[in-house]
Amino acid sequence: MKTAFMTKLRSNKALKSNLITFGMVIIAYILMEILMAAGVLSNLLKGLLVPLCVYAILAVSLNLTVGILGELSLGHAGFMCVGAFSSAFFSKCMQEAIPIAGVRFTLAILIGALCAGLFGILIGIPVLRLKGDYLAIVTLAFGEIIKNLVNILYIGIDENGFHFSTKSSLELNMSENGKIIIQGAQGITGTPNDSGFTVGILLLLITLFIVLNLIHSRDGRAIMAIRDNTIAAESVGINITKYKLMAFSISAALAGVAGVLYAHNISTLTALPKNFGYNMSIMILVFVVLGGVGNIRGSIIAAVILTLLPELLRGLNDYRMLIYAVVLIAMMLFNWAPSCIRWREKMTYWLKSKKPVKNSGKEA
């Protein structure tokens, strides 16, 4: 049995690569748990563990749109916003009705994913007709619209049911024992803190499972065919709209899941430019591009490194974001500039030719 598995593993490159990705996440989880148990981890790092999972899920889900579908989306934070608010709304309403945190959180995840996925389909139908930079700006616009609308939304509940308003909490016309759930720009306060590092890692693994399986399936190959040449894909009978929408809505739903995780990790959920604006969408895009477009494992690594980098540079105070920016530019130039790529090739060749015995592998 074991040998059969090993031969299959050796022959199946994709399976091997997937297992490495899963293994990497699990090892990182175990390592962190050990460090936490040993008490080595600072409070700052402990607080970062769930956000790291959030960003990793976001990066993987955006990579599905940018890397696999090949469309530039700048509105990913909008889907995260939808997932975060719908699930936090649900958890807040059901706090008494469903006392078991696990059940409530599972339902919240499903609702967050469903709502974000629905928005993905609604936005995807018009947006995916556009191409390239036009598509990018429209997704950015949708993201900003979602953020803006959430900021003016007031929802309260009393014995007569839900009350909606877009003006102020006073206009809800609620009875005396009514409860305001979403309070405009002040957002949702007191969302039950149901998430945690373990839950985050589980969600990341599920996200990876969904995305990696999709990529290596018939549907995934159809999506990549559309990315490589839309007209050629159409001519061999691939339904462009269906597969584009499929990738886009799955990507949106997964971003929603990240939003659920985010919402249930903080006590006050507000839609600020910082967390759900285009800056956030751009930050996720930076993870994806730096990790390698279409490379799922790279997205996770880049998300972790780029989230930790500003925190690790905290000792440098005011200079940390400056250094972050310089490192970002330098990494992009080093990775992508044709002259840098040539120089790197030259250097590796030079290093190999200088130490031919050591690097040939004959000694080992």
């Binding site: 900003e144 609308l149 895009l285 530019i329």
Partner: protein, 294 residues
């Protein structure tokens, strides 16, 4: 009467967007890249004028001139160091992310030098307000200067592109880089010139924007930058008259939305109009539709 007042302030805001959008659209037309750092060049321009006029106490003319010169050099420098090496990169995303990096860099440099506090920008315009319709409508000097300078710059730019060799070279490079090079056009020089003009316009836009809305901090440029980008797409990215029309329309829509609907959702309405326009005309108002072939 209030309608006319809103219309005028809309055109004024739109003129600023148009100036920024011109820079966006020229750079996009020629380098095929979204220069996300453009909004931050605006902020640098405004800070330069602020330093020279308010801190050093020199005349506004010197301040504006210094801002234009500094931003021109800055734009060329950014192009040379950060964008030029990536021009032949295998993915167009590489230069986009680098532009985002440059944007972070400029914001944080400004943050280090000037701090995060919002500064009160002293207007560079010492022009009396104009009373129209028997004093019912008052048009500020800033508004007049903004609208007039936008129109003047627009006309100069059109003449420059139509009548001069450098302008024709720009058109040629944006049409086909390889063919332009074969015709003996200095492609690198032309792209650098485009960045220089775009950044100079950004500096002027920054000064005008902060004269009309006198609050300045390191993030001042980012939202107008995004809005101007929207304006450029709105008018058809790559088209110079398109950027002008897009900018003016966007300004008017934004002010009307703020005045008649709600100031909280004004941005949402601006973006919604953009989406509707793009769905009806996928390449913007004046954009050209290019048929894709296999």
């Amino acid at each position: 009467m209030s309608f006319v007042k809103y219309l005028i302030s809309g055109i004024s805001l739109g003129s600023v967007y148009a100036l920024i959008a011109l820079g966006y659209t020229m750079v996009y037309g020629i380098a095929k890249m979204l220069n996300f750092a453009h909004g931050d060049v605006i902020m640098i321009g405004a800070f330069t004028t602020y330093t020279i006029c308010s801190t050093l106490g020199m005349s506004p003319a010197v301040g504006v001139l210094a801002a234009v010169v500094l931003c021109t050099l800055l734009g060329m420098g950014i192009e040379k160091v950060a964008y030029k090496p990536l021009r032949k990169a295998s993915s167009p995303l590489a230069v986009l992310i680098t532009a985002i990096g440059v944007s972070y860099l400029l914001q944080n440099v400004a943050l280090l030098i000037f701090g995060a506090n919002t500064k009160a920008f002293a207007s560079v315009v010492s022009f009396p307000a104009l009373e129209l319709a028997g004093g019912a409508i008052s048009v500020t000097g800033e508004t007049i200067v903004t609208i007039l300078s936008c129109i003047a710059i627009m006309i100069c730019l059109m003449i420059f592109i139509k009548k001069t060799k450098a302008g024709q070279a720009m058109l040629a490079v944006s049409e086909d880089k390889g063919a332009a090079q074969l015709m003996g056009i200095n492609v690198n020089g032309t792209i650098a010139l485009t960045f220089a003009i775009g950044s100079a316009l950004a500096a002027i836009a920054g000064v005008l924007l902060c004269s009309a809305y006198p609050s300045l901090n390191p993030y001042t440029g980012s939202m107008p930058g995004i809005k101007a980008f929207v304006a450029a797409v709105f008018g058809g990215i790559g088209s110079i008259p398109g950027a002008f029309i897009g900018g003016i329309l966007l300004g008017i829509i934004e002010i009307f939305a703020k005045a008649y609907i709600s100031s909280q959702v004004a941005d949402a309405i601006v973006f919604a109009v953009l989406i509707v326009v793009l769905l009806i005309k996928p390449t913007g108002i004046l954009g050209r539709n290019i048929q894709e072939k296999v």
